[in-house]
């Protein structure tokens, strides 16, 4: 759950030791510095030990801890819903990811502020949860408005009905006012930037533009943007010896921004140039996944903007591409 750092004022994703919760737990403000993605896709996850008498039967018993996520903001909930499409849907499923997601109970929360880098409004998203959660909470004076978003959520409310009472109209009104206020601030903060919905069409025309060289000239290839991005799901598999008898296969987060990411045997590399790697990240989110999975894989959380030591701002990149296209 989000815990406020009293020095910086920022929220961090932490696992409280138990009850009572620390005073710094906070369901207000905006998204945490960290994403939730490591709960679905571990940073480093052993995925196979071989040879094994069980073969390709996956032993799940006791291997997958359940998580209750409290105070997830819309951008992170939306991101998980997007990544679900890649990792679970289709001919193959990543069973590791699917089981971890199924064992996650998500309590989402409205944003009551927005950060300087937040731009969910440009993506057509809202700073409050619209789906993908079990329960959603909105802070209002004297308590919270709770909404169930799944059968499990409804059951949780039913099982604890003594804790709840019907929401007053005034509470709902407060919630709507808060939502409007945060949305207004987002619109004000991002008034100079284009809405992302127009980008897939425009970006397709910029495949050979020199703008990517200009952006790449500043990029330091640290991979912070991909690591901090809640919708960057790409990973690498590698093998190592475990003991004399068996070997181990490990799945680990990877970044398309580093040189070796797409390099093949014989040192062939379709994205040897940094500009092609920088470009790839934008195309993956704003073109390829739109074509293959039906939506822009960005939730406007703005973490890549905060994390970039070169000061590259995704909103600004999109703005420049649009300006060049004259649209």
């Amino acid at each position: 759950m989000p815990v406020r750092d009293e020095d910086t004022g920022k929220l961090h994703l932490e696992r409280p030791e138990g009850f009572p919760l620390p005073q710094t737990c906070d369901l207000g403000g905006y998204r945490t510095v960290e994403t939730l993605k490591a709960l679905g896709q571990l940073v480093r996850c052993p995925v196979a030990e071989y040879p094994s008498p069980e073969g390709d039967e996956l032993a799940t018993e006791g291997k997958f801890p359940a998580h209750i996520v409290v105070g997830a903001r819309a951008c992170d909930v939306n991101a998980m819903t997007m990544v679900d499409k890649v990792q679970v849907e289709g001919e193959f499923e990543d069973a590791f990811y699917r089981i971890r997601r199924e064992k996650m109970f998500v309590i989402a929360a409205d944003c009551t502020e927005c950060g300087d880098s937040c731009f969910c409004n440009l993506i057509g998203k809202k700073p409050w949860p619209e789906g993908g959660y079990d329960l959603a909470v909105s802070k209002v004076s004297g308590g919270f408005i709770i909404e169930a978003g799944s059968e499990r959520g409804e059951q949780a409310v039913k099982d604890n009905e003594t804790l709840f009472t019907d929401a007053h109209e005034s509470h709902v009104k407060t919630r709507e006012e808060n939502r409007e206020r945060v949305m207004g601030r987002l619109q004000e903060n991002n008034r100079d930037f284009p809405e992302a919905a127009v980008m897939p069409e425009i970006i397709r025309e910029a495949l050979s533009d020199e703008i990517w060289d200009e952006i790449a000239a500043r990029c330091v290839e640290c991979g912070a943007c991909t690591n901090i991005c809640p919708t960057c799901y790409c990973f690498m598999l590698y093998d190592q010896e475990k003991d004399g008898e068996r070997s181990q296969r490990i799945s680990t987060w990877d970044s398309c921004q580093v040189t070796g990411y797409a390099r093949m045997a014989g040192m062939l590399n379709p994205r040897a140039r940094l500009a092609d790697r920088v470009k790839h990240r934008y195309y993956h989110k704003y073109d390829y996944l739109v074509l293959s999975h039906g939506e822009i894989f960005c939730t406007g959380c703005g973490r890549c903007i905060d994390a970039c030591s070169a000061g590259i701002d995704m909103r600004d990149v999109l703005k420049r591409i649009r300006a060049k296209a004259g649209k």
Binding site: G55, D56, E57, Y233, F235, M236, R249, Y261, M264
Partner: protein, 274 residues
Amino acid sequence: MGVKNPYYPIDTIVEDIITETPTIKTFVLKPAKPISFRAGQFMQLTLPGLGEAPFTPSSSPSVSEKMEITILRTGKVTDALHELSPGSKVGLRGPFGKGYPMDKLEGKEVLIVGGGVGLAPLRSLIYALLENTSKYKRISIKYGARMPEELCFRRQYSEWGRAAANVDFTNTIDVPAPGWDGRVGLVTTLLDDLDIDIDGSIAVSCGPEIMLKFVTLKLLEVGYKPPQVYLSMNRKMSCGMGKCGRCNVGHYYLCVDGPDMCYDKIKHVPNVFG
């Protein structure tokens, strides 16, 4: 229960190793359980503790108990594979990908253009086509390698050429070599005077990217249209399931949409041949 681990490699024994050229070997593999595949689909071959690499089987897709994979020595995993001896244990995951567009080839004049070890996946296709030659108007196989000793599957050429009246096989080497009295010139020179009804033809090619590029340009020059050209594209592949995110050509993932791609779908991608 009954959850499958998609990352687990099926235990596999290397039954035999055939040296094809100084740098290419064919591995005859027997997996612990049969693996059915379609021509052109690929496998992830595990060298325990070292890693996986993707290969399209070079054997007949009608055989599932055993599988042959023909491998050029070119990197970490393939170097180690070339050091194996029969009896070694490896692992297999797959099959992955779509495979060759078999339904589109029916009734067509099928032009197969291979270069170097690129004949390996095409051999699987050739087996599939030769099992039912009457389904195709024509099967024309063109193959090139740099030097005579680099020609793969030499023992089978005459057999292929004599398989049926509508099957032909021609090969070439890049530069003249002592004792070689066959054709000399890049594989594209075999496409100069095609005796083929191009409108009713589909071309399928596999080889190094630079060869694929010039084969594609030549095919377009002699009258093929992009929808008639299928290319085995090369990208780094890892998961095989469209999830790890590295083998894309444009918005396609070669591991699920390929590895053989219709040129019409990818022709807009800048530097598509690397």
